[in-house]
């Protein structure tokens, strides 16, 4: 394509066979003739630090994040990768206190939606399950598209051949053992990804000109691009991303699934390691965009998504190009298999386990069959959407905002016993209803409505920062930080923020869902007994392979009704 270096067809096929064949071999090594339903969803809940840290890192790094970080570096200059990778990394760190709380109240759960069912009831569960099905399908599609584009650019094969090969490969190694296969292969994939990042970035840097590049290429950058504290980068990239990734981290089943899988005492260690792994890898890859900017590289066909493969094809020798190819395939496969296992768990636990068969009658064998069928259907849907002309980024922003509306109600539900199903559900719907007209400019925001949007968005700033502080420092500090942040931001944001609809829309979703949730919750005088969640979210399967101690309840065991308020 356009004279760029390509891998010979036979080499590309060999690499794909080695990658997916190796993953399949690992999957076969841990497979069981009769898989355990709980193991299929969470690996038994006792996974060690090495695998869980690798899996969390690999799942959080997806091909699109590599492309987006490089795009950010190319667009916003030297601070661009920080405004993509650092905030994403910090979110992993910031959610771990919430993760520990969720795990403490629901140690044997499989999905966040299942916990919401135990806490509130069906509507809250279905809202979370629905948003995750949509989010995982979009993520799966996006990863297939990234893989197809890579194959199209770096090999003689077409986009369609690329997405079919990758979809088949991911399904092959994930189908039989589910989550257990996903996390074990994540280890091999993280080896390939992080190993490649550690080698490729210095080589591209020195091949492109090394330190001298910063003198010869300085003229290619605008003053904003040269500024490490660029306001342009913060408002257009960093700030909207902070709001979005907090929502992604809290509402995303792929993260929750790993939270329920890792041994409880290793949660902090796992999240801290993943923070460093994700942050350094993604910011590092973003440096390819910065190098391209200094080197005066023009993206192929004007498309910045071509930047990473283009840099690799320009500056790497054939052997390193193979390593690069494996790195991208690893990043998209690790997220795609996580999406498949997330989708299968939701359908197994939330749809079949609790809504079709019912808790008492759920058959573990049927559950596993349902999970496997879900994976096949999901990969077929991903292939269909990848072949269509849907705008994936728009859909991702939509799902991000939907999860933005869920963040406060979800977090509050784990700490505040007075939150009801009504408060949760109405708050989410209200947050979403307020988000849509702001994000997509359905109303004219140049007048009074713009001012209202700015005030609500400013409150959203305080809520986002308050929530981040809450996990570490508790309610009092969170309230102080939230109030101070709102007041401090007001002079700068009111009259201005509505000109950034992506950021405003997200903040409005946070603010409206929080205000509605608090208002409706305060009307409730009863309180919920959080111990009920533990009793209501036990294992589904008593066959060997699960990790349920004999004294822990199974799904459907009688539960004493106490403290129920919703």
């Amino acid at each position: 394509m356009s004279g760029l270096q390509q891998l010979p067809g036979s080499v590309a096929i060999l690499l794909l066979l080695l990658f997916f064949g190796g993953s399949f071999y690992m999957s076969v090594r841990i497979s069981k003739k009769k898989e355990n339903a709980d193991g299929y969803m969470t690996g038994g809940g006792k996974i060690g630090f090495g695998i869980s840290a690798a899996s969390m890192t690999a799942t959080w790094i997806w091909a699109s994040s590599m492309y987006a970080s490089a795009t950010s570096g190319y667009t916003y200059g030297i601070s661009g990768p920080i405004h993509y990778g650092l905030w994403g990394a910090l979110m992993i760190l910031l959610i771990y206190p919430f993760g520990r709380r969720i795990r403490a109240v629901a140690p044997r759960a499989h999905t966040i939606a299942e916990v919401m069912f135990a806490r509130h009831g069906r509507s809250s569960q279905l809202m979370l399950a629905g948003s995750n099905v949509l989010g995982s399908l979009i993520s799966l599609t996006s990863n297939l598209i990234a893989g197809g584009a890579l194959v199209d650019m770096l090999t003689p094969y077409t986009f369609t051949q690329g997405i079919v090969a990758i979809a088949a490969g991911v399904l092959l190694y994930t189908l039989w053992s589910g989550f257990r296969a996903s996390v074990l292969t994540d280890f091999a994939q993280v080896l390939a990804m992080l190993g490649a990042v550690a080698v490729i970035i210095p080589i591209v840097f020195f091949t492109a000109g090394g330190p001298g590049l910063f003198e010869t290429g300085a003229a290619n950058l605008t003053p904003q691009q040269q500024d490490f504290f660029s306001s342009d980068a913060f408002y257009n990239q960093g700030a909207p991303y902070i709001a979005a990734v907090l929502a992604y981290a809290i509402g995303n089943q792929t993260i929750a699934q790993r939270l329920f899988a890792v041994r409880e005492d290793l949660i902090k260690k796992t999240f801290v390691t993943a923070t460093f792994g994700y942050g350094a890898a993604i910011i590092g890859i973003g440096m390819l965009g910065v190098i391209a900017l200094y080197a005066g590289v023009e993206p192929l066909n004007g498309d910045v998504n071509n930047l990473i493969p283009q840099m690799a094809a320009t500056y790497l020798n054939p052997a390193l190009l193979c390593l690069f190819f494996v790195m991208i395939i690893g990043s998209l496969s690790s997220t795609a298999d996580a999406d498949l296992t997330a989708l299968s768990s939701i359908v197994m636990a939330d749809v079949y386990g609790q809504n079709v068969a019912g808790k008492k009658r759920a058959n573990p064998r049927t559950m596993i069959l349902v999970g496997r069928i879900t994976m096949v259907v999901a990969i077929a849907a991903g292939l269909y959407f990848a072949g269509s002309k849907l705008n994936i980024l728009d859909l991702l922003v939509f799902v991000g905002a939907m999860w933005g509306a869920l963040v406060f109600p979800v977090i509050a539900s784990f700490y505040w016993g007075r939150v009801t199903n009504l408060a949760f559900s109405v708050a989410v719907v209200a947050g979403l209803a307020a988000f849509l007209p702001v994000r997509f400019s359905w109303v004219d925001l140049s007048g009074g409505l713009g001012l209202v949007s700015d005030v609500v968005s400013t409150l959203g700033v305080g809520i986002v920062l308050g929530l981040m502080a809450f996990g570490f420092f508790g309610k009092r500090v969170a309230l102080v930080i939230g109030a101070v942040a709102t007041l401090a931001a007001a002079p700068f944001t009111i009259g201005f923020l509505h000109t950034y609809p992506v950021l405003s829309g997200s903040l409005v979703a946070y603010a409206v869902s929080t205000v509605v949730c608090v208002a409706l919750t305060l009307r409730n005088k009863g309180t919920f007994d959080f111990a009920l969640i533990k009793e209501r979210t036990g294992d589904f399967d008593n066959e060997p392979g699960g990790a349920r101690p004999a004294d822990e309840p199974r799904q459907g065991d009688p539960v004493a009704a106490r403290g129920e308020n919703s």
């Binding site: 841990i30 690996g43 038994g44 996974i47 060690g48 630090f49 090495g50 695998i51 840290a53 690798a54 890192t57 030297i78 257990r180 996390v183 074990l184 280890f187 993280v190 080896l191 992080l194 190993g195 990042v197 550690a198 080698v199 970035i201 210095p202 840097f205 090394g210 330190p211 001298g212 910063f214 003198e215 390691t273 460093f276 792994g277 942050g279 350094a280 890898a281 910011i283 590092g284 440096m287 910065v290 190098i291």
Partner: protein, 42 residues
């Protein structure tokens, strides 16, 4: 300035290598323990 920017570009692969070392060491330890106890690592 060039030196600072060079360090800024090259520090990330260094951190990545460090994280990789930590993960691989932990994995090998868990693998050996699982093997000694006669069970699967996952």
């Amino acid at each position: 300035m060039s030196i600072l920017l060079t360090l800024y570009v090259l520090v990330w692969p260094l951190i990545v290598a460090g994280v990789l070392f930590v993960i691989v060491r932990a994995f090998l330890r868990e693998w050996r323990t699982a093997r000694a106890e006669g069970r699967r690592i996952i």
